[in-house]
Symmetry: D2
Subunit: 380 residues, 4 copies
């Protein structure tokens, strides 16, 4: 007996799963979203919410193209979600500063500047003096910076929650505390899932389970092709405004959030699901942050946390239809870019499923089976 | 030796004190705000944030006039604060429903309807059927409702924080954990304050210490003229949106916040500073809320809290200059209307202090010494 | 390549898994304990910690025998754990009162009294007057009570933590945030487990995963044979001591913890892993608690929570060696008795594994495959 | 009209006030304890609970004598409080290590060793090798240590709560959220107090308000004679036991609590009531702790907090009857030794008040007016 029929069942209630649910439900689909814990938690609430297309992508390529398309969608999607749910995702677009702390980083930045300009993106070189004029609390030790005025950030927990609530608004059934144990297959097609709360059937199944995607598809995608990277972060606040633009340097970023809050992130430790906040991680981040902004010594610590990013072997997410298992779609492995890529991922996957439309974007580089085609690097 | 000279020293970092600080600092004044704990806490963060001018004021009078002027200021002030601080105060203007649960309340509502209309305010009578059409989750037992489409609500903690941060942005020095012990007086004028962190001097002193205002002015205002009224509340959330408009009934209101959160409030117990959340208070609120919306039984409890409202003997706040103590201003006793009245209170007091302008509004009914003029009712 | 060799690998870091780990490690075994979240959480920290052998077991049988043996072990084990870890489990043995609120319950209690006496257990019948003398804050509406002076309670989180820490002290390697995906089998024997942190091998494997045990053994034990029963509870405290003995009635118990704290529990909802604290659950408990002790209306609410008990079809836990899969042991399905049964469960399983000793206790009624032997009731 | 008559009114619900209340109530007195917030909070719950008589007192004198008498009272008082309240204060007596990190500290330690021996106290010199044998996780950089095997520690919050609950048990009326505004005096005698909850009268009044004592007695004791010293601390935990004895070094101590928890403390900043946890404070403590125990880098951070210690100009507490204001007693200014001195302070003050007994201990050095007698150092 089939317990219930849905158009699409989405596995994973993070920002990716919720964005897909929102997009599909808005198109009129009956959606079931299954989440093993609470929606909008884990990496989706641990993220600093940077929309760092130019700052984070160090080379041209399909991810850069995808990311800048997604970044452009934020003003509209944030307004729409706010209209529907009342939740404001705190989109702030005051730019990011890629800091040069050593001589060699100056050259790196200069070369980044060039290809960014060639792609038509705004990027401004700031000598120390100009930098300190814009951001007077920065350390004198910073040599210069590359300034990307169009970058910004959102509140990751708010955006994720807003996607979830907007999906509910359009009729998505969200089941929290529901663990998916296995895919139900029928002659080469995936028709449903077995969970700790019963079996559910749908015309399409989407895997959006982030760092926890490995186990489910173990027969299809080698377990190690999506792996966890632990990150620790903390949040501090100062009595007066200290920073306007996001700071980005190797191993430490500082994101100036609303109300004077600043998120300092993030450590990276691969291959662990551990979520403990450690002396090592937090003391490292505090030392680095004080180097960038000595005045932070006096800041108040608000909170500390750890999250688990879903990494892939080539750093690109898995996006698209599974070529062998019919009705199965994959949207995972977004690593540090889950928040940034959530608008476009939701749109692409919803278009693929509901409209069977081949998206304008070439998904080949993000194919969930790209690792099989003789690319040994991917398969280890 | 005078430790520091300020234009104005504000005592109390609640929504009233912070709004005054913001208004004065924007005019260019050097402001010191002293707060015994943390800013934007106590009643300012415990409030449900209702902007219930028509719903709460049961009769015409100076408070009604003050309140509707203040309500009208919200769209602009919320936008301005958001621009400056990034903090969105979640202004939602979807109306409030004054519920009639018993026959006699129908008559009351009808008479309210009439004087509201006579004041040019929108008010719509909804028979049960219309009511349930608008809000399908309401109990069948509700007989009818008076609908005020222009009422709304904000996030009280966010608004309070936004005022504080905007005040800081314009240069206000905020000192938390600073307890004021006494006023420093010099030949009939107040010139400063003694605190646990030293003495501070200013050209004007504003008392905005809410329920804690009694002790400070004990020689001038009888201690009992501002007294505490404890209120308990809780917050719940449902999986799907259950409510669009705020519900208001005797002894229980339900405010639909962003993201499906609903605040259920509030008990009232006078003459205690106790802030314990009790079995009695919370079980009362839950029973009442289930009466109004039976579906709330399945809602998840998010949090519970208690706060302390500053009440006066005639229910009106104290607003204005002290007639005997020069340079002393008072803005306290806002009871349940602190959030609602914060924009206009900030403006009035700032105008009085910085510009020595007599505000358009007649402050006589709010005089801090109105109790002395033979009005026995006030003095008990 | 085998990543590491352990004598025994224990799956599940609740009170049962930790007690087994402690017992085995003390015998000198190299133990690995795998826990998907944090140790000593879930049901083990949600429990009220009652040691209610006589109060809870309504009939003679193997569970009653097992439970009273386990209850007798508490004074010694609590002292030993405290000596090793410093953690005091707050064993309080001041008795429990099974309350009669209706006439028919008086008869029930009388019949319980008789068989308890026949088993040599202390049980005293208290008429209303005697009851109110012992516990003056009880409601006048309670008709009488059965008093079991030898019952008591511990702090469930403290006991669970103490077992975990004592296991560590004897060398147990505890890996948190490690999810077991499947058993590794080799010609009819279980040799290890596959986890999200790699594969681990051991000479014996113990399943102690509580309500989450179903999925793992799905080929061997039908999924539905261990199922979750959600329970909600709250904790309150009074300014003065209100209660000395634990109260037990249908649908509501009140456990007087150290320092005047009282735990009020617990609702029961089968077949859900949901852990939300609901209006329904908490308001039910508060109403029931006020019926038993009207004075609780004034108590302060400390906290609220939900937990997931592991239930079986016949209400008995699964204890012992798996008859078909070699090297596999099971200790799960303890329902409401996990804390109470933890000392004896740890001892039995450790004896079975380390010493291959057949315990004095007949484990047949607790056999993990008892459901197969034509007992249709179990298999549905 | 006198609202109520008590034998003794105690101002302040910290560990000192609660210990006095407990001692007096046990003697049969009717006690009222007034606390402006919650009992057992502030410094009493922020303390690490060290019983560091030999470790902390660097010279012989009245404080050393008082402290060692108090330390000796712990086993009995902790057992008694546990018997009454069920709260175990986690008394652990495994000694403290005063670490020598530099050559000059070796000489200091040696001289301390001598006078400790002369006072009959146990103290053992440990060369690096012996030290590392006892505590293998200590840094190789530590040169040597002075070992005091009789020192120990308790859980400060548990002890404070236990005193409060035991006081309640003996009938003490505890009023929380009650702020004392002034002493009521009648011809040279203190007869009561004015509070935000009304006036209260008693035969004796005890000031035990810690860092907040200054304001109340401002006419009698110069405000600056009890001043706040802010301290920040954090708590970490390791997977396996790392430390058995308390470590004490200049600017950083590490206290091994039950269950593997370790408290790392504490910064010192005088003359502020601020309670913010800062980047500066916590990063300093983490760097120092890693120097002493490099393995702590991997420890998990549990929590962070700040507290406010009450300091006096000569570092000695104020203890005893006020020589000018009749019926007024003082017990404040215990600085870092509040927990350690709570048993003896409670006993001394209770004996003075209830039995008018001159205690065996000479209180002259602790006189609340000792600063007046020409000791210029004290008065500034």
């Amino acid at each position: 007996v089939r317990s219930k029929l849905y158009d699409t069942i989405i596995l994973g209630g993070g920002v990716i799963g919720c964005s897909i649910a929102f997009n599909l439900a808005k198109k009129g689909q009956r959606i079931l979203l299954l989440e093993k814990g609470r929606v909008a938690s884990q990496a989706s609430s641990a993220a600093a919410g940077m929309l760092g297309v130019q700052t984070e992508m160090e080379e041209n390529g399909p991810l850069f193209e995808l990311a800048r398309k997604s970044r452009a969608m934020f003003p509209e999607i944030v307004a729409e979600l706010r209209e529907i749910t009342g939740i404001d995702s705190s989109l702030i677009r005051k730019g990011m500063l890629k800091l040069a702390l050593q001589e060699e980083q100056i050259d790196e930045c200069q070369s980044i500047l060039e290809w960014q300009h060639s792609k038509g993106e705004k990027a401004v070189w700031l000598e120390k003096e100009e930098l300190l004029q814009k951001e007077p609390c920065l350390s004198e030790k910073i040599l210069a910076a590359l300034y990307f005025p169009n970058e910004g950030h959102v509140s990751a927990p708010d955006l994720s929650n807003a996607f979830a609530k907007a999906a509910s608004y359009f009729g998505t059934k969200i089941r929290e505390y529901t663990e998916v144990r296995s895919l139900i297959k029928d002659s080469g097609a995936v028709t449903g899932v077995t969970t700790n709360g019963g079996d559910f059937y749908g015309d399409a199944i989407v895997v959006a389970t982030g760092a926890w995607s490995g186990g489910l598809l173990s027969e299809d995608i080698n377990q190690s092709t999506v792996y966890p990277v632990k990150g620790e972060a903390l949040s501090v606040k100062a009595e007066i405004p200290l920073l306007t633009r996001t700071l980005f340097s190797k191993g430490c970023y500082i994101v100036p959030k609303k109300g004077g809050e600043m998120i300092i992130g993030a450590t990276s430790r691969a291959h662990t699901f551990d979520q403990k906040v450690t002396v090592e991680g937090i003391s490292y981040l505090m030392e680095r942050a004080k180097e960038l902004m000595p005045v932070l010594a006096g800041a108040e610590i608000s909170s500390m946390w750890a999250g688990t990013r879903p990494m892939t072997n080539d750093g690109l997410p898995f996006l698209g239809q599974h070529p062998e298992l019919q009705h199965l779609f994959v949207a995972t492995g977004h690593y540090r870019n889950g928040i940034l890529l959530s608008p476009i991922t939701g749109k692409i996957v919803a278009d693929l499923i509901a409209d069977a439309v081949h998206p304008e974007i070439d998904l080949t580089p993000f194919s969930p089976t790209r690792h099989r085609n003789g690319q040994e690097v991917m398969l280890r």
